[in-house]
């Protein structure tokens, strides 16, 4: 068994097992850990495709930033020990059936499609991505930058506690926040 096949197989197994953990476990924190595991597997698949830069970006953005943000959201929103009603079996079976049907349809399309061979020159080094981003795709690059800034400001605005809507008696400015210096 050669090294490439081993790397592909283990990355694919990691991705799929992590994805199964991410959707099937009951505890939301375990879901996030499974999500991180799945994304590590996808980063490994990118490595086998020669896209080292993408693998690093994927790890940084998904596993690092998004995973931590999800843990924070769980911390701020959902008590982990609340009792939950179990999902009814017909609904689980229906969702699984839907996913299986979509998978079969996609696979049939892929089997029938004709793919050309690999490109003659593989441009996978990071400097090619930089050149592309700042020459051919500079508009998309700028739009993504604006989108990220708007999303960041919007996230702060949406998640911020609105001082006007606090309960009476604890109006903004009068009651000291817990932990604030007196």
């Amino acid at each position: 068994m050669n090294w490439d096949a081993f790397l592909f197989g283990s990355s694919a197994a990691l991705a799929l097992i992590g994805a199964l953990f991410a959707v099937s476990l009951k505890n939301i924190f375990h879901n996030i850990l499974g999500f991180a595991l799945a994304l590590v597997g996808v980063a490994g698949l990118f490595l086998t495709l020669g896209s080292d830069f993408l693998a690093i970006v994927l790890l940084l953005v998904y596993v690092g930033a998004l995973g931590i943000a999800m843990v924070y959201a769980v911390m701020l929103s959902q008590p982990l020990d609340t009792p939950r009603t179990p999902r009814s079996l017909p609904k689980i079976a229906g969702s699984a059936l839907l996913a299986a049907l979509v998978a079969m349809a996609l696979w049939l399309v892929i089997r029938r499609a004709h793919f050309p061979g690999p490109p003659e020159v593989l441009e996978v080094a990071p400097q090619w991505i930089g050149r592309r981003l700042l020459q051919d795709y500079v508009l998309a690059f700028e739009l993504i930058s604006v989108l990220l800034v708007v999303a960041m400001i919007g996230a702060v605005m949406v998640a911020r506690r609105d001082p006007a809507r606090r309960a009476p008696g604890t109006a903004a400015g009068t009651a000291p926040r817990p932990g604030a210096p007196r």
Binding site: A22, N31, A69, R87, A96, W107, R111, P119, L147, L148
Partner: protein, 110 residues
């Protein structure tokens, strides 16, 4: 099965596991996780196809194999923005309704 088909098979399975989670789960955060899995499967698809089957296709300035990676970088950026907005919305919803279970969020009747 060629090498490309193995990558596409993994991407299809990842996408459909995400779809299953998106339909079946009720916690908004779990649904966001499933959605991000689907997005990761799509970027895996883009990179695999352009680097293993970009043969006779040419973008405006040459080879398509790095163009696919640029598309994947843009996808990751969009996913990050979407995740940030969604998570802050969940925190705001939790503050208003005291729950992020989608079945508690149906205020419109009909």
């Amino acid at each position: 099965m060629s090498q490309l088909h193995w990558y596409l098979l993994v991407a299809v399975l990842l996408f459909c596991i995400g779809l299953y989670g998106l339909v079946q789960r009720r916690s908004l955060i779990a649904m966001l996780i499933a959605l991000e899995l689907m997005l990761a499967a799509i970027s895996l698809n883009v990179v695999a196809i352009t680097s293993l089957a970009g043969g006779d296709a040419e973008s405006a300035t040459g080879n398509v194999s790095s163009a696919g990676q640029v598309v994947a970088v843009i996808l990751i950026g969009v996913a990050a923005a979407e995740g940030a907005i969604a998570l802050s919305l969940f925190v705001a919803i939790q503050r208003e309704v005291q729950s992020i279970n989608v079945e508690d969020l149906s205020e419109l009747k009909g």
